[in-house]
Symmetry: C2
């Protein structure tokens, strides 16, 4: 064993470049714009999966491209890999994810993204007035103060910060 050409194993009668062809790690890297080492890394963190061919090389289902795409998108929104992994692991295990599955993820992250955008927007709106005018004192300035989250009653004004 070990000398059988993969294409003999994997392909039926169809052309090489067809839908069913599995992807090598290099191909995924090229097509996704993510380094091979990063793909290895993602796999080690459970973000993507691969099967191995006869020679122990990774072979990816085409769906991995979408997963990687999603990972990158989520990262751009500022979500850490661990959370992305959690979310991805809630995708159905056996079957390929449906549009509805992707939508659920999308909604989940959209919330985070919205919160992040709001936070930054609030920050921006205060930046001029606040730093500019010189009111940026530790106790009085809404831009400042570490009690970012509402709830535990920190001293001082978090009027704008946390509304």
């Amino acid at each position: 064993m070990g000398t059988v050409n993969e294409s003999t194993v994997n392909e039926g009668t169809v052309n090489q470049q067809t839908v069913n062809k599995e992807l090598s790690v290099g191909e995924v890297a090229r097509r996704s714009g993510v380094a091979v080492s990063a793909l290895h890394f993602y796999e080690s963190k459970g973000l993507i999966q691969s099967r191995r061919n006869n020679g122990n090389q990774r072979r990816y289902h085409r769906g991995v491209l979408r997963r990687v795409a999603l990972i990158k998108v989520a990262q751009r929104t500022g979500i850490p890999l661990a959370e992305i992994a959690d979310a991805l692991n809630e995708l159905p295990d056996g079957r390929a994810p449906t549009a509805r599955d992707w939508q659920r993820l999308s909604r989940r992250w959209r919330g985070d993204l919205n919160r992040r955008i709001e936070q930054l927007t609030r920050l921006r709106d205060q930046l001029d007035g606040c730093i500019g005018c010189g009111c940026l004192s530790m106790e009085a300035c809404p831009l400042r103060n570490p009690w970012d989250q509402l709830g535990d009653e920190g001293p001082g004004p978090r009027l704008l910060e946390t509304d």
Copy 2:
């Protein structure tokens, strides 16, 4: 030498809690919400300065509170410490920074912040449509594709990503 009480050295006739009093690292930590170790760290990176008293303990000018405030604000906008340090080092060296000085910093960071907000907003606007509808393929989806920056002509559409 070494036994003189600091208050003898530093204070005039005025009450302890007055304007001129220098702050210990612990006080700065408490008032700024930043850990002592972080203040040490900031100092090592040139973000803040202190003088030392007789016993080699740090004593801070009150202005440090504003600097720390600014550092935290800038960090929230996603600016790395090294860049914050650069910006802060452009503040006047001898005199205390004026409102105008702070404004200059403010403007500088406001730009970054705006760009970041725009990026995230664009991302959000595409997230539903794009992930939701299932168009998230490596080649065609504007959410995806690594050529984030316009300029070098990557293959494929970056219409929405980079406009």
